[in-house]
């Protein structure tokens, strides 16, 4: 059962208390009724579906977030694809190709989910290419060694999962459902990344050093992935409060970051990797790991375009898109010809 529209009124989790206003002609104050309907869905933790009326700001927030998420999957293919032709064994080559392909699939699900909000994939891609929409800034860092393929899986996908598991309960149905499949695959990727580093950390001295170096370079950008502080004195505004009220976001950036640190520190210990933070210490009182200050200046600098790979990532994407224009045009022309042929056959 997908659509709320078909929910059974008397079933648990149905929409008994939130009847849909039928139409403008029969409903006085129709706009208010729609708003009340939407508020009721959110209050009862129901899913909003594409056919439901929703505030324009909610729709715009979702389009921005889902597009950014889809763009991150697509741009995120690049740092890992960088190692496909050089993977050190055929088994690793196969796993990496499958992984990069999964990311392409995630991008497609998410663009499709975003399209249910009345935008077109090509419109979103244009915005990515022109810099009007962002992608996760983590992908503006380079993959310098094979161990980076492991660190991306372990830390970057690990952080992404922290962010994405709560999105499986996001108030917007198509997004929530897309995230269920995405999360299953991402958790494979996280384990695969860990296993790359596990193998390296049991290997030669050079391999161990490679693993440590990758963790040194990816740890802080991974913590930045959760976004700037949004609780306590350091809170820097942003979209958190509104997104939480709408049931799009379930936990604050800071809570998710803490969960990630708490999950990852014991894994680093198992790997024999020292995380590059002298302030990292177990806090008995809080029941959490304390960690040192994050360099938010670096975060903003990279986000605004001054990172090692910002230019390169977009250039590669735009080049692929432009080089492929004649192919997409050919596919459209062929489809049109086929349709015309079928029509004339039907007439005949």
């Amino acid at each position: 059962m997908y659509g709320n529209d078909f929910g059974q009124a008397d079933a648990p989790g149905g929409r008994a208390t939130t009847p849909h206003p039928l139409n403008a002609a029969e409903t006085p104050d129709y706009t208010d009724a729609l708003a009340a309907y939407f508020d009721g869905l959110i209050e009862e933790d129901q899913r909003v579906e594409p056919r439901d009326a929703m505030p324009e700001a909610y729709r715009k927030t979702l389009i921005r977030q889902m597009a950014q998420h889809a763009h991150s999957e697509i741009i995120g293919m690049q740092p890992e694809a960088n190692w496909i032709t050089r993977a050190p064994s055929l088994r690793r080559k196969a796993i990496l190709m499958a992984k990069v392909q999964d990311e392409a699939g995630h991008g497609l699900y998410l663009y499709s989910a975003a399209e249910t909000l009345g935008v077109d994939r090509s419109e979103l891609l244009d915005k990515l290419h022109s810099g009007q929409q962002k992608y996760s800034s983590i992908f503006n860092y380079p993959t310098l060694t094979w161990a980076d393929a492991g660190a991306i899986g372990w830390l970057v996908d690990g952080a992404a999962i922290m962010n994405q598991v709560p999105l499986c309960r996001c108030s917007y149905g198509p997004y929530a459902r897309a995230m269920i499949r995405v999360c299953k695959e991402e958790s494979f990727h996280q384990r695969q990344g860990f296993e790359i580093l596990w193998t390296l950390s049991r290997g030669t001295e050079e391999q161990k050093a490679m693993a440590q170096d990758a963790a040194d370079r990816w740890w802080w950008p991974a913590l930045q992935m959760f976004g700037p502080p949004d609780t306590g004195e350091q809170a820097s505004g942003g979209h958190t409060a509104q997104s939480m009220a709408w049931g799009i976001k379930r936990f604050s950036n800071d809570d998710l970051r803490q969960k990630f640190v708490d999950m990852t520190v014991p894994q680093a210990q198992k790997l024999g990797i020292t995380l590059p933070d002298p302030d990292l210490a177990w806090n008995e009182e809080r029941g959490h790991w304390d960690f040192g200050p994050i360099d938010w200046d670096e975060f903003w600098r990279v986000l605004k375009g001054d990172g090692p790979c910002n230019e390169q990532r977009i250039r590669t994407r735009v080049q692929a898109h432009e080089d492929g224009a004649w192919v997409r045009e050919a596919a459209a022309a062929y489809a049109a010809k086929q349709a015309a042929r079928q029509q004339s056959e039907a007439v005949a």
Binding site: I74, M77, Q78, A81, I84, T85, R86, A87, P88, S89, L90, R91, R92, K93, A94, M97, A98, V100, Q101, A104, G105, G107, L108, Y111, W146, T199, R202, G203, T204, E206, Q207, T316, R317, Q319, A320, D323, G324, A325, W326, V327, R328, E329, A330, A331, A333, Y334, A335, K337
Partner: protein, 256 residues
């Protein structure tokens, strides 16, 4: 090892190297394809070919029976250029999308006929590999067919590019049907098939696709590639191997 076994090994290496080297080229497409669906599709084809290569190279190592046995990675990463037995078609550099579809159409059609024939191989492991692979390459051939139709019968530009791609790829096609020494032995033993026995079916299928796609069959090329099965490659091969092997070779004996 008897001389008979060497030819068995060489036959298997030819099949495995074709798959491995083409997978290497297809892997280069990821993030550069004309649309995201195609990043996935070409990645998927490449992934199937890596899988075939792993099985075929593992089998080649078993039949070779060296002490210690050479495994798939020993064979993929530690052989030099002259020891690779793939046809030159698969090592050619990645060019435009029409070129890739021309190459994929011919190669997957060849693989489709090849694996179908190998279902009866007296090498039971090879027959098992073929049984899995024949289903995979059926999809590859279908994918290439659909694109050659779209590009051939799409826009004037795509038609022109597709036609040019057929001409560019054509000199590398004949080698797929050449009866090299290992293949002659394999066919006699029932291990393999004579490549020339597949040629009519391959050419017939491709000709049908080209006709439907409003494309002109390319004229016989002035030259054609030869020698891949004996380890004679084009100059691009060394660079391909350098990229594929360098990390593995930089850490002798390491586990990955």
């Amino acid at each position: 090892m008897s001389s008979t076994d060497v030819r068995h090994v060489h036959y298997l290496l030819g099949l495995g190297d074709d798959a491995l080297v083409y997978a290497q080229r297809l892997g280069e497409w990821l993030t550069h394809a004309p649309q995201i669906e195609e990043d996935m599709a070409l990645g998927n084809v490449g992934l199937d070919l890596v899988g075939q290569a792993r099985s075929l190279l593992t089998r080649a190592g078993e039949v070779e029976g060296a002490d210690p046995l050479r495994d798939e990675d020993d064979l993929a990463m530690l052989r030099d250029e002259r020891e690779f037995r793939n046809v030159q078609l698969v090592e050619q550099p990645r060019a435009d999308f029409a070129h890739e579809m021309a190459r994929l159409l011919w190669f997957s059609t060849y693989q489709r006929e090849l694996y179908a024939a190998l279902l009866d191989s007296t090498d039971e492991t090879l027959a098992g590999i073929a049984a899995k692979a024949v289903k995979e390459v059926d999809y590859h051939r279908d994918h290439a067919t659909q694109w050659v139709l779209r590009l051939g019968d799409g826009t004037p530009e795509s038609h022109e590019r597709m036609q040019a791609a057929l001409v560019a790829v054509h000199p590398y096609v004949a080698e797929l049907g050449e009866d090299h020494e290992a293949a002659r032995w394999a066919a006699e033993q029932g291990v393999g098939v004579l490549p020339s026995s597949l040629t009519d079916a391959v050419n017939g299928y491709v000709a049908g696709v080209l006709e439907q796609a409003t494309l002109t069959p390319p004229d016989p090329p002035r030259w054609h590639a030869r020698g891949g099965r004996e380890g004679v490659h084009s100059e691009v091969m060394g660079y391909l191997l350098a990229e594929m092997q360098h990390l593995h070779r930089s850490h002798p004996g390491a586990t990955w």
